[in-house]
C-alpha cells in the first residue's frame, strides 16, 4: 500500500478498531488511540522535505484520487499530528471512565484520517470528500456531550455543511473554467464567474476556520461538547485546514492581486471578525465560552493577514495560524484541567486556583501572554507581521487589529485574574493539580510557544517560507525582532493600556471578574451585548427565520397547486358532467335546439371555407 494511503487509512482503521472493542475492556482503547496517534505523528514526520505525488482512478469526469505531498502541506500535517497526539494523550486521561470516551477517542482517530486526506489531496473533489466527511465526526463529537448537545451538533453541521455545499458549487465553477480539478494545475482568472468561484470557495475555507459570520456554533459547542473537542477542532485542526485552503486558493488557484476586491473583502471579514468576536469574548463569564470567542477572533488575524496579499501579511497570517493552534489548544486544555478538578468553568465559582494548580496556571500565563501578543512569545511576532501587512494596505485595518489586541489582552487579564488569582472559593478548597497525562501536553505546547517566539526564524525561515516559495516572499526574511519600531511601540502602548484598564476595573468593582464591567455597561453597548447574548444577532438564528418564511411561502405555493388538482379539477369534472346530463333531459325541445345550433355551426363553417 502506498505510504500516502497508509497515512489516511491507518488512523481511520484504528478508529474503527476502537469502536469495535467491547465496552468492558478497560484501558485498551486509550492505549490504542495514543499508539495510533503516535504512529500518525511518526509517519507524517518522515514526510518532511519530501515531494510525493500519487494518482489513482476514481469517479471519472476529472475526479481522480490524486494526492500531492510538498513542503506546504507537510508542515501543516506535522503540526496537526503533533497537536493531535498531545490532545489525545490528554483526552485519554481526562475522559477516562466516562461513558462516551470510547466513541470520542475513535472519532479523533477517524477525524485524523480525514484531515490527512484533505491536506494531502491535490484533486479538489478528493479534498472535498475528506474535508466534508469531517462533518460526520464534527457532528458526532459534539453530540456525545451533554443531553442537549445534539442541538449544537446540528447547528454546527448545518452551518459548516451549507458552507461546504457552497464550496462544492465553487469548485464546480472553478473546474469548469479551468478544465481541470487538480489544484496544482489550476489557474482561474478572477473575472466573471471566476470571481464567484473564488467567493464560494473562500466561504468554504473561512467557515471551516470559524470566521464570522459562520462562527456561531463555536461558543455553543464550548458549553455542550466535551472539552478536548474544543482544543482539537475549533482550537487547532479547523484553523489549520481552513487557513491552509484559503492560502491555496488565494495564491495557487486564483493568484489574487493585491488591490483586488477579493483582497479587500478578506481583510474586511478579518477585521470585523477580530473586533466583534473579541468584544463578545470580553464580557463572557465562563472560562470555555470566553476562550471560544477568542478562537473566532484569532481567525480574523489570519484572514486579515492573508487578505492583505502582501508578502509580510501572508507570512504573518500563516505564522499566526500555527501559533494560534498551539496557544489556543493549550488554553482550552487548561480550561479542561480546571473543569475536571473544580467541577465547573463558571468564573463566578472559580478564583484563587493559581496556588492549587501551579503548573496549569503557569501554562495559562505563557499561552495567555502569547495570545495577547506580548514579547517574546510567539503570538507577538506573528501579530506584528500581520500589523505590518495591514498597515501597508490601509490604516483602518491596522487600527482594527490593534484594537482587537487591546481587548484580547484585557479579556485574558480578566480571565486569569478571575480563575487563578483572588480569593479561593470555599467549594474549591480540595482542588488539586491535574494529572501528569493532562499536564504534559499542556507543558509541551506552552514550551513550544516560547521556542517559536524566541527562535521565530525556525518556523518562519525553515517552514513557512519554503512552503510559500520564492515567488511570494521574494527571498525576503521576516524572522527576528520586528524591524518596524513604530509598530512595536504601538503594541507596547496597547498592552500597557490594557493593563491599566484592568487595574481600573478591578479597583472599581473589587474583583477580577468585574475588570471589564465598565466597558460592558457603556450605554448602548450594554443593550447590544444583551441582545447578542440572547442570540438576536446570531446569523444562524436569522437564517432560520428567513428559511422558515421562505418555506412557508413555497409550501403555500404547493398547497395552491394541490388545491387545483384536488378541488378545481374535480369541480370542473363534476360541473361538466352536470351540464351534459342536463342537456340529455329527454325533452324534444332540447334536442331540436341542439340540431339547430349544429346546423348554424355547419353553415358558418361552410361559408367560411368557401
Amino acid at each position: 500500500m502506498h505510504i500516502l494511503l497508509i497515512v489516511i487509512g491507518l488512523p481511520i482503521a484504528t478508529g474503527l478498531a476502537i469502536l469495535s472493542i467491547p465496552a468492558r475492556t478497560k484501558g485498551l482503547r486509550e492505549v490504542l488511540s495514543i499508539l495510533g496517534m503516535a504512529a500518525n505523528l511518526v509517519l507524517v514526520s518522515t514526510f518532511f522535505g519530501k515531494d510525493i505525488y500519487l494518482t489513482l482512478p476514481w469517479a471519472g469526469g476529472g475526479i481522480d484520487l490524486s494526492f500531492r505531498l510538498y513542503s506546504f502541506n507537510s508542515f501543516i500535517l506535522i503540526a496537526a499530528a503533533a497537536l493531535g497526539f498531545l490532545i489525545t494523550l490528554y483526552s485519554a486521561s481526562s475522559m477516562y471512565g466516562k461513558g462516551y470516551s470510547r466513541l470520542f477517542l475513535a472519532y479523533i482517530l477517524i477525524s485524523f484520517g480525514l484531515v490527512n486526506g484533505a491536506l494531502l489531496s491535490d484533486n479538489l473533489i478528493a479534498m472535498l470528500f475528506f474535508w466534508e466527511g469531517l462533518l460526520l465526526t464534527l457532528f458526532a463529537m459534539i453530540a456525545v456531550g451533554n443531553k442537549n448537545a445534539f442541538r449544537t451538533a446540528t447547528k454546527a453541521f448545518i452551518i459548516v455543511g451549507v458552507c461546504d455545499l457552497v464550496m462544492m458549487v465553487g469548485i464546480a465553477l472553478a473546474g469548469h473554467i479551468s478544465g481541470t480539478l487538480s489544484m496544482s494545475k489550476m489557474a482561474v482568472p478572477m473575472t466573471g464567474m471566476g470571481g464567484l468561484a473564488f467567493l464560494f470557495m473562500m466561504i468554504g475555507a473561512i467557515s471551516k476556520a470559524g470566521s464570522m459570520p459562520f462562527h456561531s456554533w463555536i461558543p455553543d459547542a464550548a458549553i455542550d461538547a466535551p472539552l478536548p473537542f474544543m482544543a482539537l477542532l475549533p482550537g487547532a485542526l479547523e484553523k489549520l485546514m481552513g487557513i491552509y485552503f484559503l492560502t491555496r486558493i488565494s495564491l495557487d488557484i486564483f493568484k489574487l492581486e493585491m488591490h483586488s476586491w477579493a483582497s479587500t473583502l478578506m481583510m474586511t471579514v478579518g477585521a470585523i471578525t477580530i473586533l466583534v468576536a473579541v468584544l463578545m469574548a470580553l464580557v463572557q463569564k465562563n472560562y470555555k465560552k470566553l476562550l471560544s470567542y477568542h478562537a473566532i477572533s484569532q481567525v480574523g488575524y489570519m484572514v486579515l493577514g492573508i487578505g492583505t496579499m502582501t508578502p509580510v501579511g501572508i507570512v504573518g497570517g500563516l505564522f499566526h495560524m500555527i501559533n494560534n493552534a498551539m496557544y489556543k489548544s493549550c488554553l482550552f486544555l487548561t480550561g479542561g484541567a480546571v473543569e475536571k478538578e473544580a467541577g465547573t468553568t463558571d468564573l463566578d465559582k472559580l478564583g484563587g486556583l493559581g496556588l492549587k494548580m501551579p503548573i496549569t496556571f503557569a501554562c495559562f500565563i505563557i499561552t495567555a501572554l502569547s495570545i495577547s501578543g506580548v514579547p517574546p512569545f510567539n503570538g507577538f511576532f506573528s501579530k506584528e507581521l500581520v500589523y505590518d501587512g495591514a498597515l501597508e494596505r490601509g490604516r483602518i485595518f491596522y487600527f482594527a487589529a490593534v484594537l482587537g489586541s487591546f481587548f484580547t489582552a484585557a479579556s485574558f487579564l480578566k480571565l486569569g485574574h478571575a480563575a487563578f488569582l483572588g480569593k479561593l472559593d470555599s467549594r474549591n478548597s480540595k482542588v488539586k493539580e491535574a494529572s501528569w497525562y493532562m499536564l504534559i501536553p499542556m507543558i509541551l505546547i506552552a514550551l513550544s510557544c516560547v521556542v517559536f517566539g524566541i527562535y521565530n526564524g525556525l518556523p518562519i525561515d525553515r517552514i513557512i517560507r519554503p512552503a510559500l516559495g520564492n515567488a511570494i516572499h521574494g527571498g525576503h526574511s521576516f524572522a527576528g525582532f520586528p524591524k518596524n519600531m513604530a509598530l512595536v511601540a504601538g503594541t507596547v502602548v496597547v498592552l500597557i493600556a490594557a493593563l491599566l484598564n484592568h487595574l481600573y476595573g478591578v479597583k472599581k468593582t473589587g474583583k477580577g471578574l468585574g475588570a471589564v464591567d465598565h466597558i460592558h455597561n457603556v450605554p448602548g453597548l450594554s443593550w447590544i451585548y444583551d441582545k447578542a447574548e440572547r442570540g438576536y444577532f446570531d446569523p444562524y438564528n436569522i437564517g432560520r427565520i428567513l428559511v422558515k418564511a421562505a418555506a412557508l411561502i413555497l409550501s403555500s405555493l404547493d398547497k395552491i397547486i394541490d388545491f387545483f388538482f384536488s378541488n378545481v379539477v374535480v369541480w370542473a369534472a363534476d360541473t361538466t358532467g352536470l351540464v351534459i346530463r342536463k342537456m340529455h333531459n329527454g325533452s324534444h325541445k332540447m334536442y331540436i335546439m341542439w340540431s339547430l345550433v349544429a346546423t348554424v355551426i355547419v353553415i358558418i363553417f361552410l361559408m367560411r371555407t368557401m
Binding site: 476514481w58 457552497v166 418555506a551 412557508l552 409550501s555 405555493l557 404547493d558 388538482f565
Partner: protein, 479 residues
C-alpha cells in the same frame, strides 16, 4: 443466445411470477413470499449478469416482428441494464422487508401480485425499444400503483389512489398522443427507426411538450407532483417502491431514453426543463420543511431530488448525465432506506405525526443509524454515495452555463440538509413526546441496514458504479 434468454427472463420471470404468486398464496403464505422474492431476485440476477456483456460494448436485442410498426423489441444497452439492475435490487430488498411489514394485513395475495407485476412491467418498460410497448408497460405500472396505493381500503386511501392514477394516466395519454404524432412522421414506433429519422429533422415541440406531460406526471414534478405526497397513505414498503425503485424513476428513465438517446429536443428545452426542475426542487423542499407527517416529508424530498436528476439529464453534457444516472442509484438506495425506516417507526409508534415522536434512537438504534446514513447520502455528505452524484449534477449544471439555475439548486440542496435534519432530530433525538416504541422485526432491520450500508459502500467504492456509468454515457450520447 444465453444473453437473449437472460434478457427475456428479466422481463418475463416477474410477469409470470406475478400470476403464480397469488395462486401460491392459497397453498402457503411462506411459499408465496418466497416465490415473490425469488421472481424478483431472478430478475435482478439476470439483469446483473448482463452488466459485463453491455460493458463490453454489446447490445442485446430480442424482437418479434408484428405488422404496422408494432414490432415487439427488447433491447439491453448500458442505460437499460443499469436501470433494471438498480430497480430490481431495491425491489428485492423491499419485498424482503414486506415479509415482516405486511404480515398483519389483509389482501396479501393481491399485494404480492401487484408488487411483482410492478417490477415486471418496469423491466418491460426499460428494455422496450418500441414506443407502443413502452406505453403498454407504462400503463401496467399505473394500474399496479393504483391498487397498491389503495391497499388499505379506507375511503381516503381509495381517493388518494384514484388521484395518483388519474394524474399519471392523464399524462400517459398526452404522451400517447405524442407517440402517434411521431408515428405519423416516422411511420414506425421502433426507437431505432425514430432515432434515424430525427437525426436530420428536428423534433416537433408539440411532441416534446406532450411527452414531457407524461414524464412529469409520472416522476411527480411540479406542477404535477402533489399526488406523490398524498400516496403516502400506502403501506410503507409500497411508498418505498414508488419512490426508490420503480414508479417515479420511470419518468426520468424515459426522459433519458427519449430525449438523450433517441433524439435531442431543441435548444430552448435545455433551459426550460432545468428551470422547471429547479422550481420543483425548491417548492417541494419548502413544503418538506413545513409538513409534520413523517412520510409526506420524505415524499416531498423525493420530488425535490427528482429535480436534481432532471437537471443532470437536461443540461446536455456528459458529466451531468453521468451525475443523473448515479443520482438514480444513490437516491434509490437512500430513499428506499428512508421509507423502510419510516415504516418501522410508523408501524411501531402507530403514528406518522413527527411532533408526537422523539428520542427513538434509544429504543431503535439500528433504524435510527440507518435513517441517518440514508439522510447523509441524500444530503450529499461524503463518504456516502450521494456526494458524488450531487457534485456531478452541479458540475453539469455549471457546464450548462446558467448560473441562476445552479444557484436555485444550491438553495434546494441547502434546504435538503435542513429538512432532513429537522426530521431526524424530531423523530429520533431529544425528549420523547409519544411512546418509545421498540425496534422492528429482524427482516425489517436487516433490510434497512443493507440499504444504509449500500449507500455508504456506493460512496467508498464509487469507482465501480462510476466506471459503468461512464461507459453508459458514452453509449447514450453516441461517442
Amino acid at each position: 443466445m444465453t444473453n437473449k434468454i437472460l434478457l427475456l427472463s428479466c422481463v418475463f420471470i416477474p410477469l409470470a411470477g406475478a400470476i403464480i404468486a397469488p395462486l401460491a398464496g392459497y397453498i402457503s403464505t411462506k411459499f408465496r413470499n418466497a416465490l415473490a422474492l425469488a421472481a424478483i431476485s431472478a430478475s435482478f440476477i439476470a439483469a446483473a449478469s448482463l452488466i459485463p456483456v453491455v460493458l463490453a460494448g454489446n447490445t442485446i436485442t430480442v424482437s418479434a416482428n408484428l405488422p404496422l410498426g408494432f414490432n415487439f423489441i427488447l433491447t439491453a444497452d448500458c442505460l437499460a441494464v443499469f436501470m433494471a439492475t438498480v430497480s430490481s435490487f431495491i425491489c428485492a430488498i423491499i419485498v424482503l422487508y414486506s415479509f415482516g411489514y405486511i404480515s398483519h394485513y389483509r389482501n396479501q395475495n393481491e399485494y404480492y401480485l401487484m408488487v411483482v407485476l410492478f417490477l415486471g412491467s418496469m423491466m418491460g418498460l426499460v428494455f422496450s425499444a418500441n414506443l407502443i410497448f413502452l406505453y403498454i408497460f407504462w400503463e401496467i405500472t399505473a394500474i399496479a400503483s393504483w391498487r397498491l396505493i389503495g391497499f388499505f381500503r379506507e375511503k381516503r386511501d381509495i381517493l388518494r389512489a384514484d388521484k395518483a392514477f388519474l394524474v399519471t394516466v392523464f399524462g400517459a395519454l398526452a404522451m400517447l398522443l405524442a407517440f402517434v404524432l411521431i408515428y405519423q412522421k416516422v411511420g414506425s414506433f421502433d426507437l431505432a427507426a425514430i432515432k434515424l429519422y430525427f437525426k436530420t429533422t428536428p423534433v416537433p415541440d408539440i411532441a416534446v411538450i406532450l411527452i414531457l406531460l407524461g414524464i412529469l406526471t409520472k416522476s411527480a414534478t411540479l406542477p404535477f407532483h402533489t399526488w406523490l405526497p398524498d400516496a403516502g397513505v400506502a403501506p410503507s414498503p409500497v411508498t418505498a417502491l414508488l419512490h426508490a425503485a420503480v414508479l417515479v424513476k420511470i419518468g426520468v428513465y424515459v426522459f433519458a431514453r427519449l430525449f438523450i438517446v433517441t433524439f435531442t429536443p431543441s435548444e430552448i428545452w435545455h433551459t426550460i426543463i432545468p428551470a422547471l426542475a429547479a422550481a420543483s426542487a425548491l417548492v417541494s423542499a419548502g413544503a418538506a420543511l413545513v409538513e409534520t407527517d413523517l412520510k409526506r416529508i420524505i415524499a416531498y424530498s423525493t420530488v425535490s431530488q427528482i429535480g436534481f436528476i432532471f437537471l443532470g439529464f437536461a443540461v446536455n453534457n456528459t458529466i451531468g448525465i453521468a451525475g443523473a444516472m448515479l443520482f438514480i442509484l444513490m437516491h434509490g438506495l437512500a430513499k428506499g432506506g428512508l421509507f423502510l425506516c419510516a415504516g418501522i417507526v410508523e408501524q411501531n409508534t402507530k403514528t406518522k405525526d413527527i411532533t408526537r415522536m422523539g428520542g427513538l434512537i434509544s429504543t431503535m438504534p439500528i433504524t435510527a443509524l440507518s435513517f441517518l446514513a440514508c439522510s447523509f447520502s441524500i444530503m450529499g455528505i461524503p463518504p456516502f454515495g450521494g456526494f458524488f452524484s450531487k457534485y456531478m449534477v452541479f458540475s453539469g449544471a455549471v457546464g450548462g452555463g446558467n448560473i441562476y439555475i445552479t444557484l436555485a439548486f444550491l438553495s434546494g440542496a441547502v434546504l435538503t440538509i435542513l429538512y432532513l435534519f429537522r426530521l431526524f432530530n424530531m423523530v429520533f433525538l431529544g425528549e420523547s413526546r409519544g411512546n418509545l416504541a421498540k425496534e422492528g422485526s429482524a427482516t425489517m432491520i436487516v433490510s434497512v441496514a443493507v440499504l444504509a450500508t449500500m449507500s455508504l459502500a456506493g460512496g467508498i467504492y464509487i469507482i465501480y458504479p462510476s466506471s459503468f456509468v461512464a461507459v453508459a454515457v458514452k453509449q447514450m450520447v453516441g461517442m
